[in-house]
Symmetry: C2
Subunit: 163 residues, 2 copies
């Protein structure tokens, strides 16, 4: 039985968000990218949920803030955050989640619990390597890998009614 991974454990989520924001500020500074208030707020909203958040969910939160935002505002902020490696888009959910490896070189692999919706982002060199090998056997030049795994997290497996 492995040690429980972060999103599955109770933890001080405020601190976890603060750290992510501080990291983001630093990364943006290094890259001469402008983490504007809207962008930072969007990142914060996404981090406040360990679960993936849809663009329109983000929009709704901004509206609650009193920010009179339209969809492009959100999509533009999300594009920016993605480009700087601060959030990932989960294609199978049309949703976004904070990157837990921001700043590091990595290929994301996501374990998505279909019951509690928590997402764990992994870096698995063995997987990346196998994917690269398979692609290069076909002479294919890899640009971007989408690797999303739906299933049951350890906690939810333990609960009843998961057939």
């Amino acid at each position: 039985m492995p040690a429980s991974a972060l999103p599955y454990r109770p933890h001080n989520h405020d601190a976890c968000v603060s750290r992510a924001l501080a990291d983001a500020r630093e990364i943006c500074q290094q890259q001469h990218a402008r983490l504007t208030p809207t962008r930072e707020r969007v990142l914060e909203l996404i981090w406040q949920s360990h679960k993936p958040l849809g663009a329109y969910d983000v929009l709704a939160h901004l509206t609650e803030d009193g920010h009179n935002a339209a969809p492009p505002t959100v999509y533009r902020a999300l594009d920016f955050l993605q480009q700087h490696g601060l959030v990932h888009r989960i294609a199978s959910l049309n949703a976004f989640i904070g990157c837990t490896h921001a700043g590091e070189q990595h290929t994301g692999m996501f374990l998505i619990c279909r019951k509690c919706q928590n997402v764990l982002e992994l870096t698995a060199p063995a997987v990346s390597g196998a994917v690269e090998d398979a692609a290069s056997t076909e002479g294919f030049d890899v640009d971007e890998v989408t690797l999303e795994i739906a299933g049951l997290c350890p906690q939810c497996q333990a609960e009843p009614g998961n057939d």
Copy 2:
């Protein structure tokens, strides 16, 4: 240099579609599933393109046929075809493609050329294994794997202007 994989090679595409349809009929018969005219026509349309086809593209073709179809018709047919392993949905493209391993037990892995749009479906046991290992290290119970790789196919790499 590997031998060129099927979708990248010129081939008798009509025959390739016919074979897919014949296989589908057999698979459905075995599973006591009804491959109705609409479902079969949708499968045929998808196979006639080696490129992924959006639901509304399928709808447009049906309309050309004189079939007065609405979105639910297409989505229902696609659901059926997916459930019986005859087509795959490519989440990163919101599009569908014929399954080249229908009837076999397999985990799809898709090499999607971002230039010519061709898609090659692979079965790579090494990748599936690595994914399984990574998931089980986290105690995660895998249900479904979405593995989509965007990049350049061998043909398109050879052409100019692919920076």
